[in-house]
Symmetry: C2
Subunit: 490 residues, 2 copies
């Protein structure tokens, strides 16, 4: 017990310091003076050095060898600490430093290459990033499965093989649905006009509250890319304002509220411990996506939102709640993942998953990446990529070394499909409440079944226990077919 | 050289981590969600542990023993590091922890005692704070001078003896001036009416810019008590809005701009080193006070501010710029230091200095503090303290263990007097520019003579070198006599 207590006390301080690092990142993306970037980089580097020293502290190994878990919570704590420690000590300090430096530089090169539509300018540094991440994966992988070693950092327990099979079952039905929808002859009308920023901000706040966001333990700001940040009693979200696209603001807000509600919903007893955070990127994304899509884009909730928008903006060119529902769920051709609708979004992710798995696996050379991207895009989306910023240069992820992260987006959607099916079966009155602008009944179920557990169970186990069955792609596909089949009268 | 470089690299990381601690404090006082207080306390405690371990790292002693300074800058760096290290290692970890815990608790007890006008509720914990600070001082003092050992942390090189002599020369003339001013038969009219908060915020921003605040390396927010925070390229200030008292907002802003301009004005080559911060509390306060009083409350600048207020608020009951100048500089009886005017402010500080010096010296018992306060107040201010929140309970300082800090407020005013005299002698066109809302010429001189040097020289040396003569109380007293003698036609 002494070893366990010492380990947990040490870990608690590490969690507190990591939380500070998150807070600095939030500050940087929202309110930091522009001229402070260099100084901030030095501050973050100093804190990261402290964190790295703590995470590789040999005392952790000694404590782990002696610590005994007295209950399932302690068992889960030790499991997290052991996994993290074993990963961290396998990576040479030299490699960790090199990766940090390289990816910081690569992000700048990527941004410039994207602005200049110049793939060639990005590829050399991307090759270095891929090489270093492969080197890292080789340090981590016990069985030679390089991609799995990286994936494990974002979705513990998942494998490329298993995801590939899952995604293989998704892809044909998504391609078919996309084609059917875009071929339908009665597309919904898009939004037009401009929408006052202050009113958007006010409605965004109402939306966050409707989905249970606790402003006493959070706050809402704006940033270039919306995000959620923090755990426990300080979980902040951001949104963005575009006067021509209020849905961007509103659905970003609901999405980030989903992430934040997960963090805010975790049992306070787990605060400042490894259990005090969302268990994986996939489960995290399941919360943000079920809030945003299954609930936020439902007929019931959009009916309420239509009223709030009419109150806020006056008549805005959409005739009634039904036309508004169709407009919110409009599917239109686009090259950009982050702007994609429910139907097309996962096709974007699947494309990146296959390409990055091949890059890390060594079966796709960086030199061939653009062609591979464009070929796959034409196959799945039926149009040719018109410029690199709409293609291989569109996402920041690979430049900062995020390989193994993309698939968690779709895994989150799959999990959201499973959770939504179970939620509808178990909870009455969801739509009636949503129609009043209240996601309470749905959110309460998610809090009880998923959020409060934090890192207690393995990711798949969380979904399995919440839904009573192993995760599968079927509920998501059924939901999409039914919803868009009705909207587009397929 | 190797030892010096190693020491500076280590120190640089410590400065970066300390800067993070400052940023967390800023966040807490301005924008942090209310519910996050407990978590934040844990984060700050974890970071303070890291900082304490670094500041007492025995390697610093080894590097200091071997390091050789190749130039005056390196010499100053070593002087700062040595002083700080020698202080820190003299204090037992047990005492440092106890002090941190006790003062955190004592602050809460003080706040409640003040709200309840209950001195007796505060005295037991105050006694503990005094005892622990005396114990700390005994660890630090080489010659038995307990108060000087504490003072040295805020104003290196200053002694209680010397300050006592300086303040002894100030006091009779300030008491006499106060009596004469408050006995005059033509007091200026006070401000009346209410003043829109958004307009105050806009004018506050203009004021900060007028005094050279660089918003590219800072930002302005609101907090309960205005403050300035940070060094280098991220120096933030806060102000507060009271609809009935716009001067509070405006002169707080100019005051904090003075502090921030000092930090922003330091040679960037010193960033993230011990030289990269204001050299002492006294010199810091000299900047905030000369900005606020000698410049900001001058006839020339108030003339411009009168125009800006008239533009912003319309006619607000003050007839003309001359009446406005008198109103800005109105002296009225008050019990509260933080609300005091230029004439009375230092009398408040002198009172605290004498009392706290006696407390730490052991010649005044905590049990007798209130009576000592009230007696002194009646003597210097000519009125009896009506309630503890207007007397001995009014300031937070002693509850958090700040003994030795108060005198730096008045020392700052003395330094400001010296600097202003030299500034007027050396720079032309100050008033003409101030009358246009531009403190540029004055600020440029201060930046060159004081601010850019950061911690390069000892505090007294900064003032001596800037003014060409050793600091004295005479310029401040002459300035006050002349200014208020004219306003009140004495």
């Amino acid at each position: 017990m002494a070893a366990y207590d010492a380990l947990m006390a040490f870990q608690r301080q590490t969690e507190a310091l990591a939380s500070i690092a998150g807070r600095l990142g939030w500050d940087q993306e929202t309110i930091m003076p522009r001229g402070a970037a260099e100084q901030r980089a030095e501050e973050i580097a100093a804190l990261e050095d402290v964190l790295h020293a703590r995470r590789t502290d040999p005392r952790i190994g000694e404590w782990l060898a002696k610590a005994e878990a007295q209950d399932p919570v302690a068992e889960a704590q030790l499991r997290h600490i052991r996994r993290s420690y074993e990963r961290t000590v396998k990576i040479p300090a030299r490699l960790a430093t090199e990766l940090a430096r390289l990816t910081s530089r690569a992000q700048g090169i990527w941004a410039e290459a994207r602005a200049n539509e110049d793939v060639a300018a990005f590829l050399p540094v991307l090759r270095q990033v891929v090489d270093l991440r492969r080197e890292e994966a080789a340090c981590l992988a016990t069985d030679g499965a390089l991609y799995d070693a990286l994936l494990d950092d974002y979705e513990p327990g998942a494998t490329g093989e298993e995801l590939s099979a899952l995604f293989g079952r998704l892809r044909p039905r998504l391609v078919a649905l996309r084609e059917a929808v875009l071929g339908a002859d009665n597309p919904p009308a898009p939004l037009s006009g401009t929408y006052d920023g202050a009113t958007q901000t006010r409605i965004a706040r109402e939306l966050a509250l409707a989905f249970g966001y606790d402003l006493n333990r959070g706050r809402i700001d704006t940033s270039v890319h919306p995000f959620s940040s923090g755990s426990g009693s300080d979980v902040r979200i951001t949104t963005r304002i575009s006067e021509r696209d209020p849905f961007n603001c509103f659905y970003s807000t609901i999405h980030e509220t989903g992430h934040a509600a997960y963090e805010q919903g975790i049992d306070p007893a787990y605060a400042m411990t490894p259990l005090g955070q969302g268990v994986s990127m996939g489960v995290h994304e399941s919360q943000s996506r079920i809030y945003e899509n299954q609930l936020g884009r439902s007929r019931a909730f959009t009916g309420w939102l239509f009223g709030r928008m009419t109150d806020g903006f006056g008549a805005f060119g959409i005739a009634d709640a039904e036309a508004f529902y169709r407009s919110v769920n409009r599917v239109s051709p686009s090259y950009i993942r982050t702007e994609a609708d429910e139907v097309q979004y996962n096709l974007h992710v699947l494309l990146r998953f296959d390409l990055e798995r091949d890059l890390i696996g060594g079966t796709l050379d960086v030199a061939d990446l653009e062609e591979a991207w464009n070929t796959r895009f034409a196959a799945d989306f039926g149009v040719a990529v018109d410029k690199p910023s709409n293609g291989v240069l569109q996402d920041v992820h690979w430049s900062v070394g995020l390989f193994g992260y993309f698939p968690t987006y779709t895994l989150g959607n799959v999990y959201a499909g499973c959770l939504y099916k179970a939620l509808r079966a178990e909870v009455d009155g969801i739509d009636a409440a949503l129609a009043e602008g209240d996601a309470g009944p749905a959110v309460a179920w998610l809090r009880d079944k998923v959020q409060r557990h934090g890192g207690l169970m393995e990711p798949r186990e969380v979904i399995t226990q919440a839904t009573g069955t192993a995760p599968s792609e079927a509920p998501l596909l059924d939901h999409l077919d039914a919803k868009f089949g009705e909207i587009y009268v397929l």
